[in-house]
């Protein structure tokens, strides 16, 4: 695909993200709509609408965009680097590990004393998971990698559940639902600012992998001969994904399938080129999560439908499709 249609794609995606962001600002239990948003922006509206907009809806929309972008971007990088179509933060265990770190930070009271402990512990656990993954799946193929990821993911989910069960706080064990299925309800701007530096760092590191991932298309030997520093690339992907996914999961819980679905859907549209897939995936992920969050609020039910449920309902059928399609590949 030529540069023209690629720029066109990015433009379309940006518009979709902007529209979903606006939609996210206008959906909520209180019926504040477009006229109210305009009023607030012109500083005419009363403080209640302004409070709802700035303190409730804005952080929610920002987090939706940033978490979605981070998950999709990490998925695209992991798929490009591991050359495995099933690689995504949820499946290979990074998300579950981040949740474990976050749970330890919050439920021991550490995050109350030192707020930055929350993203740091989440990222730390996430890094440990990636390192464990790499040593478990060192010379095995794609299948070994996925199996190792499943093992790590299960272990971390179990440890998270354990940590919540032994907390003296009576609400803790019920909150496993949040951590395993994700939500961005009732977050505040404080959450956003807390993770913003880590998300930005992660995005920067992952952006640097763009062109080396192109070179990896022809295998590691060709890439090395073209001047790609493979250990440095591994470090960029590892730390970048850990930062993004760790910080995002620390405030939103585990949200799966965004990192799987978005890169796959967009890859044909960017001509399969890994470097072009990165910005497109980030935009696509932001749009997907923002729209899912709007859906969550439009479907009013007794108790809140979790974001992870919506992304799973979209993602699992897609996963089935991938499995069926790969059968024909592996059958050869």
């Amino acid at each position: 695909m030529n540069s023209g249609s690629y720029v066109g794609l990015l433009t379309v995606l940006t518009v979709v993200v902007a529209l979903s962001f606006l939609a996210s600002l206008m959906v909520g239990t209180s019926g504040i709509g477009w006229p109210d948003v305009q009023g607030v922006l012109r500083s005419e509206a009363d403080t209640t609408a302004a409070l709802i907009l700035w303190e409730l809806r804005l952080p929610r929309a920002l987090l939706g965009a940033v978490v979605g972008a981070s998950l999709a971007l990490s998925g695209a990088c992991l798929q490009g680097f591991l050359r495995n179509p099933l690689a995504e933060p949820g499946i290979i265990g990074i998300s579950s590990a981040s949740a474990l770190g976050a749970v330890v930070a919050i439920y021991t009271g550490l995050a109350l004393l030192v707020p930055v402990a929350l993203p740091l512990l989440a990222i730390g656990c996430s890094l440990l998971a990636v390192l464990a993954l790499q040593s478990l799946a060192r010379s095995g193929g794609a299948l070994t990698l996925i199996l190792a990821g499943v093992a790590i993911s299960s272990l971390c989910a179990a440890l998270t559940s354990l940590a919540l069960s032994i907390s003296p706080n009576p609400f803790a064990s019920l909150e496993i639902v949040f951590w395993l299925l994700g939500s961005i309800t009732d977050r505040s701007m404080a959450h956003f600012w807390l993770i913003a530096p880590f998300i930005a760092t992660g995005w920067l590191l992952l952006a640097l992998t763009a062109r080396p991932l192109d070179a990896l298309t022809l295998g590691t030997e060709t890439a090395i001969s073209l001047g790609v520093n493979l250990p440095r690339l591994r470090m960029l992907v590892t730390v970048g994904a850990a930062c993004c996914v760790g910080a995002a999961t620390a405030v939103s819980g585990v949200i799966g399938f965004v990192g799987l679905v978005v890169p796959h859907l967009l890859r044909p549209l960017v001509g399969y080129q890994p470097s072009r897939l990165l910005p497109a995936s980030a935009l696509g992920g932001a749009a997907l999560l923002l729209i899912a969050d709007v859906v969550v609020r439009l479907l009013t039910t007794e108790s809140e439908i979790r974001l992870g449920v919506v992304t799973a309902l979209v993602g699992v059928p897609f996963f089935f499709y991938l499995v069926i399609r790969s059968r024909s590949v592996f059958a050869q």
Binding site: S3, R83, A210, R211, D214, A215, L216, T217, L218, G219, T220, E221, T222, I224, S225, L226, G227, V228, N229, R267, G271, Y272, Q273, P274, S275
Partner: protein
């Protein structure tokens, strides 16, 4: 640019793959690296390119150690076509060839005019201009090899290392690839190619390096290397020698005990 490999040694847990192998490739030379299966030919190429983490020995470019070169400089000096022809993503062929310009590109922008022209030249050289928009992953064996060879040529490096460039190709394409390599050498590139086909090796190569059990057994003109004695000792075959249009050729004929 001259490539010199000195005392290249690679060890595996239970055996020695390369044992102090040495060779030189000069600018404009077409050198063939031949030897039986398991002799260590691919390993030698990988070691020179830097794809093997643990090896002993020195690689010199125009007399300077290759370690003194940065990754980018090294990539611009040495182009490599590995044995593995796998293309991970179904990119259009032109995009695949453009990957060869990686050592010359900076930043995130679209390819420069110079890069586009280099890609055009490379694709013309391999006669693959009509494949530009086709999906590289579904090309036939001959087409894919030519596209990947164009990718290596697009680097426009003074040295080209090719590992079994004609493997799996039909006679037409085998001859075509050999002509492309010869043309590259004639225009100043130093080419080192691993070959199994002794007939083509004798016909096209300026010099042959014979590797067996990790050691260089012979290094010189094809007629001097592919002697009956060497063929018997190293390949365990008897060959028929012939000549046509002023060029000598050799044809492996029968196996020896």
């Amino acid at each position: 640019m001259q490539l010199t490999a000195q005392d290249m040694t690679v060890r595996a847990p239970r055996r020695i793959i390369l044992d102090r192998a040495c060779l030189t490739v000069d600018a404009g030379e077409l050198v063939g690296l031949i030897g039986p299966n398991g002799a260590g030919k691919s390993t030698l190429l990988r070691a020179i390119v830097g794809a093997l983490p643990r090896h002993a020995g020195r690689v010199l470019l125009d007399g300077n150690p290759i370690d003194a070169y940065g990754a980018r400089q090294r990539a611009r000096a040495l182009a490599y076509l590995p044995q593995d022809r796998h293309i991970e993503w179904p990119l259009p062929s032109r995009a695949v060839v453009m990957l060869g310009r990686y050592p010359h590109m900076r930043g995130f922008g679209p390819p420069s005019d110079a890069c586009n022209k280099a890609v055009d030249r490379a694709m013309t050289a391999v006669d693959a201009a009509d494949l530009a928009d086709r999906n590289a992953a579904v090309l036939s064996g001959g087409e894919r090899t030519r596209v990947l060879l164009a990718r290596a040529l697009a680097v426009e490096a003074p040295l080209l290392l090719a590992d079994e460039p004609i493997a799996g190709l039909d006679p037409y394409h085998q001859l075509h690839v050999m002509e492309i390599l010869r043309h590259a050498a004639r225009t100043g590139t130093g080419v080192l190619a691993v070959l199994h086909d002794l007939t083509l090796a004798m016909r096209y190569m300026d010099r042959l390096v014979l590797l067996a059990d990790g050691k260089v057994i012979a290094n010189g003109a094809p007629a001097d290397v592919l002697t009956e004695a060497n063929l018997k000792r190293v390949y365990r075959v008897a060959a028929v020698h012939g000549s046509r249009d002023g060029a000598d050729f050799v044809l492996p004929w029968s196996r020896l005990a």
